[in-house]
Amino acid sequence: MSVRTVQIHYNDKVVRQFLLATVIWGVVGMLVGVLIASQLNFWRVNFDLPWLTFGRLRPLHTNAVIFAFVGNMMFAGIYYSTQRLVKARLASDFLSQLHFWGWQLIIVSAAITLPLGFSRSKEYAELIWPINIAVAGIWVVFAVNFFWTLARRQERGLYVAIWFYIATIITVAMLYIVNHLSLPTSLLHSYPIFGGVQDGLVQWWYGHNAVAFFLTTPILGIMYYFVPKAAERPVYSYRLSVIHFWSLVFVYIWAGPHHLLNTALPYWLQILGMTFSLMLWAPSWGGMLNGLLTLRGAWHKLRTEPVLKFFAAAVTFYGMSTFEGPLLSIRSVNALAHYSDWIIGHVHAGALGWNGFMAAGMIYWLLPRLWNRPLFSTALANVHFWIGLVGILLYVAAMWVSGITQGLMLNSTSEGGTVLTYPNFLDTLAAIRPLMALRIVGGGLYLVGFLLLAYNVVRTIRGAEVVDGSAEVLVEDTPTPRVGVVGTFINPPFVFSALGTLFACAWMFGGDFVRLVGLFGTITSVIIAWLHFETKKRGWSDWYDRLLLNAAPFTVLTFIAVAAGGMIQIIPTVIVNRARNVEDRIQVPYTPLELAGRDLYVSEGCYNCHSQMIRTLVPDVLRYGEYSRLGESIYDHPYQWGSRRIGPDLARVGGKYPDSWHYKHMLNPREVSPGSNMPNYPWLFENTTDVAALPAKLAVQRTLGVPYPEQTPADIQAQVDAQAAEIAARLRDADLRVEPDRQIIALIAYLQKLGKSEPVRPVLAAAKP
């Protein structure tokens, strides 16, 4: 055994780059947030300009905050802490630079394409397919750079922060790729390969776990590094780290369907979504406990040290929103809260409180260490903290009250439960307007706080000399004990977990006998695992210690843990249940003109305010008509079920109003709906429908399984012209004159089609999961 000393110079340049990008994109993302919050209350702030309307800017806000602000912050934190935790410089300076500049280029292209209306309309997955490929490519660059660094590590064991980073990298890759599978129709447009319920399920498997593995696990890793560093205290409990890491990554993936509760989603998936969300409560709080209790013995420093203030508040908000999440996942609570501002409050407690404050704490801690100069003003950082905190509390409280108020009003009935108390949706909008105004104040205060941080950053680094960290480590050249393939899979924790999961699946999906065996097997494996753990504790922990010396087996096991839930939920729905995904009605495919109108609906981001999903709830049915069946959106690529009702549901709006109503409403919503906050869409009356793109679009739809006949472009043109002429004629009868080739005609055609379906033969209807 030989011992030698190695001098390591860390790559802190890329950390500084990501850190500054965090500040810049943070300002941009929050500024857009305040703007769109204002648009909801003051429709004039949409300026009648296509690229400044709410529907197009809301995706820009969410993408900017998630992928630009938190993304850059995450990369800065991961690169800074990983190098130090594994005692190795980042493997490749080239890959690091490629990662940084590639990511910024992606953000810039997103900031250009989203306002221009290029959108896939799946939330936090709106970017068009060429950018999707770039994101996947840069994520691979990140992964290679990270794992290559791990391979060159001088520190043999993997610290808990690294576990979370590994889970982040592999899971985000998996989610992102599956949810972005699509067939291009042109350079800038594509249709997702999943449709209807499948698309919804895949979308929320992705969407929910983007929250989990983009906004939570990497930040937990950052917490595990920066909180003990800043507090100069040991981490509270290693065994809590182990348990909450594995339970978090395993359970999180299953909870996606809680975004689709009370909808047409098959019932068993709704129940899985709800129960796994409830089971997620304790694992999430494990992270909060380890964060907060690490501060024990350092609480007195909170008075003087803004970094710790931010961390303590951030972890508290994490605890708050991970309690709120399971609560909102209870189906009856969700019946009230879904589609309302309560959800907006919930995500902002997480985004502003947890992500934003973790970012601020990390930035204030890193600044002096990366630029070798004390923070310009600690007092200013303290002001930032208090302004930001008041901002969050105002914001979140306003959204709670708003969401509950609107939810109660929408669900309220009178005259013995036979009629809606507020049949006019706009009455419920008027009631929450003051609260939406208060939200602008809260968000504005938070932005002011963040601008103080930006100012502090500028003043601290101006003229400062950058400094790169270095370390001297003693390296022992002893062989690392390997676990190998057999050791990875043949060991008590893995075997018992795998057995338990398999039996549980048999119990969930099996017929009478298999189900019984499954239940019995699940219970037996839990009991045996328990007894084995109690008697052979050493065996379990020795194996885990050895696992931690081996990055590759650790990564494989993490991947298995995160992949299980998605496979069990999605594969039956996509493959086995295809015929069952219909219920008793099937959608009538859109005509070419209606499809063109639908693409406009998608492109304008109408789904940001309008759902197309009447839930199996009496107030929903009283307000919007019969509940939505699965088959009624089966040909929808992408699905448009929506997640928020800033305006009413549109699932059955077809035929409800005359064409002239839609014409006037799109030109100036307030003419027919006094008090509406919807933007005007004057450009739809000037721009012409892109009929030339339809042949390629219809061909892709046909490939995806929508029953369109083979048609020549001339046939399509003729069909479009005929339908457009009919609509234009009906408008002319109402003294409204518009050329039939305008976009408004296509949009009206689409809106009048919504809710049109045919009954299906009982053979299909009888098959229920």
Binding site: S81, R84, L85, K87, E155, G157, Y159, Y225, P228, K229, R233, P234, V235, Y236, S237, Y238, R239, L240, S241, N262, Y267, W268, I271, L272, T275, L278, M279, W281, A282, W285, G286, L289, P326, E415, T418, V419, L420, P423, L426, V473, L474, E476, M508, R515, E583, V618, V621, L622, R623, Y627, R629, K656, Y657, D659, S660, W661, E671, V672, P674, A734
Partner: protein, 179 residues
């Protein structure tokens, strides 16, 4: 491999930390709080039972449940909707309190198509001499209740309920020119 002692001086009697230190970060290995374990196990046990109750012992699905509830509501409405005839609607059109609430409903629900002065717009003119679908009060009530879907008039009966619908009819009747 580097081994540093933990940076912060530990108090006597404090829990031991794990042997290895990462970049100056050491870790306690404290036992898990009981309330936390109770939450973890409790939620798992609840989920297993909830799955069994909802998946294995449930007989009715959400869709059927909601359909049944809505049918009941429809029946209740039908039972109470027969209570208006021509004379009672005319009587209502002379009752100030009825007209006030009828006007309020008109302002939120009907005004966008029929105009603030009932002069029409997207919808028909309600104060001219022609009635497209019958001029008896009960005929007007039927139009409100069932709509004229081909012309874009929605069925308001299911939305507003019988009382409000009748009030709107009374309000419209009260606005008729005195011919």
């Amino acid at each position: 491999m580097s081994e540093h002692p933990p940076k912060s001086p530990r108090e006597p009697g404090e829990d031991p930390v794990r042997p290895h230190v990462f970049d100056g970060i050491s870790e306690y290995d404290k036992r898990l709080p009981n309330w936390w374990l109770a939450t973890l196990y409790g939620s798992i046990i609840f989920s297993v039972f909830y799955w069994m109750v909802t998946q294995q012992f449930r007989r009715i699905n959400d869709g059927d449940q909601v359909t049944a509830a809505v049918q009941e509501i429809r029946a209740a409405k039908l039972a109470s909707s027969g209570s208006y005839d021509d004379s009672s609607l005319l009587e209502m059109s002379r009752t100030a309190s009825v007209l006030a609430s009828g006007a309020a409903t008109y302002q939120t629900t009907c005004v966008s198509c029929h105009g603030p002065e009932l002069q029409g717009g997207i919808g028909a003119n309600l104060v001219d001499a022609t009635w497209l679908h019958g001029n008896k009060p009960t005929e007007i009530l039927r139009v409100l209740n069932e709509g004229v879907l081909t012309k874009g008039m929605p069925a308001w009966g299911p939305v507003l309920g019988p009382k409000k619908t009748a009030e709107v009819v009374a309000f419209v009747l009260s606005k008729q020119p005195a011919s």
